[in-house]
């Protein structure tokens, strides 16, 4: 009799290619043998002995499938599963019970794997306001959202993506608030994903984008549950991917990145000012080096005399031409940035000192680079972090505008800028104009645009993107 259980265990072990963490236990009772199969890397060993093994051992009564489920095992996640689902359950970190004296399989959920506790995400710290951030575990993330949205309308709908990884992707939305077309489109897109594995939400992101080749970000993302909850309240759909602390939201408008969670937890006048500065920062980040180059190479005549004198004095005798100089400084900053990202934090400090002091200051003193060049490039590099969410695309734009400004002058920059804006206005994904509420101008939503009004003033749902009201345009 024992052989039957043994055989089953062997069979499962074989299907798991005798992986090292595949474990099994056999309990021999008076009535017969019970087999336990699980992945020891995925379960709580102590709980296994305390909540499963011990109760069975100490049980004096009849042991059958219903008594196991209803009386003996006191865990929450105890259920009977079909034979075909055994492997999936084991992979999910559950213990499978089977026996030679009853038919059927029981799965007990005692999953335990290392997870982070929610902490303040380093990418979006707040001065005042909630500090919790999403973690890698999708269940915790769901909890974080549920805690903020006590409504029965909050729906989590789980889909499995990735042939090998079998990653859980949870589409969450508030029923009646989120637009049904958007929900449908998102689900359809996720269902159609053909991929081996999903290790981060970024893998899903590129499938959700309608123009994956585009430089511009088309899907929102956040590490903070308060932000995602707020977005869901506006009618957006959130996509939680297991093993990723980044939650995606659709639809996305550019204005979202101009808004920081800090804005909602401070005085709205201050928030308006900060948003305006962020806007200026974004502009400076994109065009400043290109513009400076254009002035130097083509339009010296519009520079005020004193500034011109400064530039002429400081660039006199430099080995580089203006274009090469800016490219050189830009490259230098980019290298320093990459280095500081990858080095451990204590070394990061050292590199910034080396970068700022040694390379910058000495470069100027040695007559290799000019102070205005350093200042302009540094300004644009720093200004970029007023909108850190747009960092990657702005960096590409910086290079593009350096080429345009240096090669074609101000006309090149203006043309390039209008081209980019024209392009952004063609982005109309998920029935949402990318540049809303400014293009097209949606009057109601302007109160949470660059100028922020008090939260009470936002009486209506945003109309920039479709939501329960079914607004389109």
């Amino acid at each position: 009799m024992q052989k039957k259980v043994q055989k089953q265990i062997e069979k499962l072990k074989k299907s798991f290619h005798s992986t090292n963490d595949f474990s099994s236990r056999i309990f021999i009772s008076k009535k017969g043998t019970i087999g336990f199969v699980f992945l020891k890397s995925m379960i709580d060993a102590e709980l296994f002995s305390q909540a499963i093994y011990l109760p069975i051992q100490q049980w004096q009564g009849q042991i059958d499938i219903s008594s196991l489920i209803n009386k003996i095992l006191k865990n929450n996640g105890v259920e009977e599963v079909a034979e075909s689902e055994i492997e999936k359950n084991i992979l999910d970190g559950k213990v499978i019970l089977f026996s030679d004296f009853f038919e059927g399989y029981i799965s007990v959920d005692i999953t335990k794997y290392p997870t982070r506790t929610p902490s303040e995400p380093p990418t979006s710290p707040v001065i005042q306001g909630p500090r919790e951030g999403f973690v890698e575990d999708f269940k915790t993330n769901m909890t974080l959202l549920r805690r903020r949205l006590h409504t029965k309308d909050l729906v989590f709908s789980t889909l499995i993506v990735g042939e090998k990884s079998q990653t859980k992707v949870v589409v969450s939305y508030i029923d009646g608030v989120a637009d049904k077309r958007v929900i449908r489109e998102v689900k359809k897109k996720i269902e159609n994903i053909k991929i081996d594995g999903v290790v981060d939400s970024y893998y899903i992101l590129s499938y959700l984008e309608k123009r994956p080749n585009s430089l511009f970000k088309q899907i929102g993302n956040s590490e903070k549950p308060d932000i995602v909850a707020a977005k869901m309240l506006e009618g957006k759909v959130a996509i939680i991917v297991d093993n990723s602390p980044i939650v995606l939201t659709v639809p996305f408008i550019l204005m979202e990145d101009m808004q920081s969670s800090n804005d909602y937890y401070t005085n709205h006048h201050y928030a308006s000012l900060v948003r305006f500065i962020r806007m200026c920062g974004l502009l400076i980040a994109i065009v400043a080096p290109g513009f400076y180059l254009a002035l130097q190479l083509f339009h010296y005549n519009i520079l005020p005399l004193n500034f011109l004198i400064t530039i002429a004095d400081t660039t006199q005798g430099l080995p580089f031409t203006p274009f090469l100089e800016i490219l050189f400084i830009f490259l230098l900053f980019q290298i320093l940035y990459e280095v500081s990202l990858r080095l451990p934090s204590y070394l990061g400090l050292a590199t910034s000192i080396v970068g700022a002091l040694i390379l910058g200051d000495t470069g100027v003193k040695a007559g290799l680079i000019s102070p205005p060049g350093v200042i302009i490039t540094a300004l644009s590099k720093i200004a970029l972090y007023t909108v850190p969410e747009q960092q990657s695309q702005i960096t590409v734009l910086q290079v593009l505008f350096i080429i345009l400004g240096g090669s074609l002058g101000i006309l090149g920059i203006v043309s390039g800028f209008i081209y980019v804006v024209n392009y952004l206005n063609t982005l109309d994904d998920y029935h949402t104009p990318y540049m809303a509420p400014y293009a097209p101008r949606i009057k109601d939503d302007l109160q949470d645009g660059l100028i922020k009004r008090p939260i009470g003033a936002n009486k209506n749902m945003p109309r920039s993107f479709p939501n329960g009201k079914g607004r389109e345009r």
Partner: protein, 458 residues
């Protein structure tokens, strides 16, 4: 191939980028900045020497330093026309001339003997030259004035255009710019008013060492020796140019070239005295041009009289002599004229045009010259008696009449009489003009009425 074509169709901006990268970027990559390719001109001087034009540029010479000190130099070129002279100067410099930062244009007073507009034609055609460029004339050569400008900047930290801006704000009734000149030139009365800056070259007043005298000699002799004498700023470029005058060299003090201490001290002493040798005197004088030719020169008092007709210009004071003050003694009193209110009217009586200016002037006592008498004075409470008021009025009237005489004699209508009549009584005025033998001599046939009200102010 088809794939490439498809890609081009899908992403046409790639072609654009490739074209830019291929055709424009390589050139731009290795092109030096505009500031290196062009000489940035700060002021332009125009002279006429022996049937040739000489154009001088006060240019900024970039020097690699961290102090942002401006180092200028004067470069000139000669030619039978202004544009040829510019080309000549360009050859001397080895750079293109960039005129977009030129703030001042100076012409020699002698050039105003003929229609100056023909000399200015080139400058009016250069689009990069801003229209608000200050336009003034000077008594010496324009080149020398530009050189002296440099020392003005070194010693006082003052630029010529700032000096003239001050005049234009406070004294001149119009701008003194190229634009203002042309505005007057093309107007029916063809008159314009431009600023006059006096350039004084004094002989060194004793105490000068041997070197000092040799320097001043160089100044008289011409630029060549000035360049060699070790002038700091303009030396090198002067040597290349053929112009006369080494004002900069002399005013910056070549004494530092001396080797031993004694000569250095002497040099410093000499610098003090040499600075006095060539200096710019701003007396806020102006020259009246008619059809581009100088017809009159107005001093600051004349200009202040003109300003009676303008509310905006207010820097004026008046001294009345021998008036009785509150204490009963006869003194000289100086008043500041403030808060003018001006209303101009035009009228015709019996076919005679009458230009009526109703002016209300606030006066503020600023000074009393007691002429040595003992007076217990309290300036603040001094009332303006009727006697004083009438004395002020009399004085202002006499000044105004003096100014009007100059304008009438020169037939130059820089006080916009023509415009006022044209606006107010166009038909009558046209009739009146047609009745005149010399239509341009209308000022002499117009009656001016000055209604004045003097009130105490402050």
């Amino acid at each position: 191939m088809k794939k490439i074509l498809n890609a081009i169709e899908r992403y046409p901006f790639i072609i654009v980028l490739v074209i830019i990268l291929l055709f424009f970027t390589p050139y731009a990559l290795f092109s030096p900045g505009e500031s290196r390719r062009r000489a940035i001109v700060l002021a332009i001087g125009l002279d006429r020497v022996d049937d040739e034009y000489e154009i001088s540029f006060l240019t900024f010479i970039p020097k690699p330093n961290q102090e942002f000190e401006q180092s200028n130099s004067v470069v000139s070129g000669k030619g039978s026309s202004v544009s040829e002279a510019v080309l000549d100067a360009q050859l001397t410099l080895g750079k293109d001339i960039g005129l977009s930062h030129a703030k001042t244009t100076v012409v020699n007073e002698k050039m105003l003997e003929e229609d100056v507009s023909s000399s200015l034609d080139y400058l009016s055609r250069v689009i990069s030259l801003p229209e608000n460029t200050v336009f003034v004339c000077t008594n010496t050569s324009a080149k020398e004035l530009l050189m002296a400008t440099d020392s003005l900047e070194k010693n006082l930290g003052l630029k010529l255009d700032q000096l003239i801006s001050y005049n234009a704000n406070e004294v001149y009734i119009t701008d003194t710019s190229l634009e203002a000149f042309y505005k007057g030139y093309y107007s029916p009365h063809k008159s314009s008013l431009i600023g006059f800056i006096e350039h004084v070259k004094e002989e060194s007043s004793g105490g000068g060492s041997g070197q000092g005298s040799s320097d001043s000699g160089a100044q008289n002799a011409g630029g060549q020796s000035g360049g060699q004498s070790g002038g700091e700023q303009a030396g090198s470029s002067n040597a290349g140019s053929s112009g006369g005058g080494s004002a900069v060299a002399s005013s910056s003090g070549g004494g530092s070239s001396g080797g031993d201490e004694a000569s250095q001290n002497e040099g410093e002493k000499q610098r003090g005295s040499l600075e006095g040798q060539s200096q710019i005197l701003n007396k806020a004088d102006a020259v009246v041009l008619r059809e581009g030719k100088k017809v009159a020169k107005l001093d600051v008092d004349n200009l202040n009289s003109i300003n009676l007709l303008s509310e905006k210009r207010s820097l004026d004071s008046i001294t009345v002599e021998n008036v009785k003050c509150e204490c009963g003694k006869t003194v000289d009193m100086t008043f500041l004229l403030k808060n003018k209110q001006v209303a101009i009217q035009t009228d015709f009586q019996n076919g005679i045009p009458i230009f009526i200016a109703n002016v209300s002037i606030g006066v503020q006592l600023t000074e009393i010259d007691t002429k040595g008498q003992e007076i217990k004075q309290n300036a603040q409470s001094t009332k303006i008696s009727d006697e004083i008021a009438s004395a002020i009025e009399k004085k202002i009237r006499s000044e105004f009449a003096r100014m009007l005489k100059i304008l009438r004699d020169s037939k130059a209508d820089v006080i916009n009489v023509y415009d006022e009549f044209y606006r107010g009584n166009r038909k009558n005025f046209e009739k009146f003009l047609s009745s005149l033998n010399d239509k341009e001599d209308y000022l002499n046939n117009i009656t001016f009425m000055l209604n004045m009200k003097i009130r105490q102010d402050g």
